[in-house]
């Protein structure tokens, strides 16, 4: 199980992590231990995605020379 570097994670990495976590839980032979780890990791990834997607602070500026 990888350690989630929360601060340095890019959106792409967080999204891929979330996809992987959800997918891992679809394997019937996943152990309960691994399942809980995947689930917890998935929650972390989800939080990271939400955090990035939540920053709707678009700035539109015209550079003046």
């Amino acid at each position: 199980m990888e350690n989630i570097k929360k601060d340095t994670l890019t959106f792409e990495e967080a999204l891929a992590g979330l996809e992987k976590s959800a997918e891992a839980l679809r394997q019937p032979n996943t152990t309960l231990d691994d399942a809980m780890k995947s689930f917890e990791a998935g929650l972390e990834y989800y939080k990271k995605c939400q955090e990035i997607l939540g920053k709707a602070k678009q700035k539109i500026e015209v550079y003046t020379r």
């Binding site: 979330l18 839980l25 689930f39 990035i52 709707a56 678009q58």
Partner: protein
Amino acid sequence: MAMKPVKVSQLNSYIKRILQTDPLLGNVSVIGEISNLKFHSSGHVYFSLKDESSKINCFIPSDLFRSIRYELADGMEITATGYVYLYEKGGTYSLNVRNIEVEGLGNLSIAFEKLKEKLSKEGLFDEKYKKPIPTFPYKIAVITSETGAAVRDIVKIIKNRNDIVDILIYPCLVQGSGAAEDIAKAIEQVNILFPETDVIITGRGGGSMEELWAFNEEIVARSIFASRIPVISAVGHEIDFTIADFVADKRAETPTAAAQLAVPNIFEYREYVKTLNDNLHKNLEWLLKHKEQILKGYDIQNFISMFENKTALWEVKSERLINDIYSAAEAKTSEYENNINSFKKSLDELNPMNIMERGYGAVLDRDGKLTGSISGFVPGDALTVVLPDGRACCEVKNVRREI
């Protein structure tokens, strides 16, 4: 009025003064076709401009040639602007060119193809230099005219798709002389002043080939190539191909398409992330149910009856084994009994007592050994005769050997 004879140099010097003080010849534009184009190793460029009946030598000094916006070729019709210059030593004059304009699709296409070939040979269009466009940008720089249709389209599309990414509009000229330098400078400046920029979009709305020409100039191509930040070109319409398109990391057919390429749809991502989170929970629930089912299969009652079945089976098996052992042992015992009986019978048959009962006796010598022969007997020998009910000590009277 006749003039006094003058020296050649005096004449040439005079003509030069006349020519170079003439207000028209000091700034003249000439239309003609290029021939005898020569690039000198010093960087100066020589050619002739001609029409159907006449020609004039032309010269472009190397420092001015660098700012010429078009690749030149024999056969191209151009408008050259400059002043008439007299070379005193040779008594020849030429057009000293400061600027060249090219008009018409045919002439522009020649310049286009020449530059395309040149840059292609240098490798500026090579796939290996193309930088990937980031999939999740935080800052986009738009280098175009502040007042054009392109910037409006780009901003509109980005806002429709994404409310996170910052947009920096870096205004520049997009047509006419000076536009190419402006665009090139802007790309360089964004790289220096806004290094955090993820993608640069540069382009403009549709127009004639002349209007789009800045994006066909070498200086723009070189600055796009040098940009550390990935560049998306977005010039004119689908059908317009420019040199900038070839050298850019990605060509967008239109400014609208560039905006779609440059930024992901955040609103769709938000939905997708929600769906993934739902799946995460649903899948865990499903997996737990699945595990529960398996556990139910391991129920204690199930286990007991399974165990009972097993022990019953083992009991039957062990009984059968014991029976097998018993009958094998019995068989062995009766086999031994039979053997013993037959040995006993043989022994009985051989028992000397039986013979004695029929009247025979056994004769033992002095040492108590069975004799069975008279040889060695001498009168006076003490013998023992054994009969079933006892023994008798005897003495040999005489020995008669039977023949």
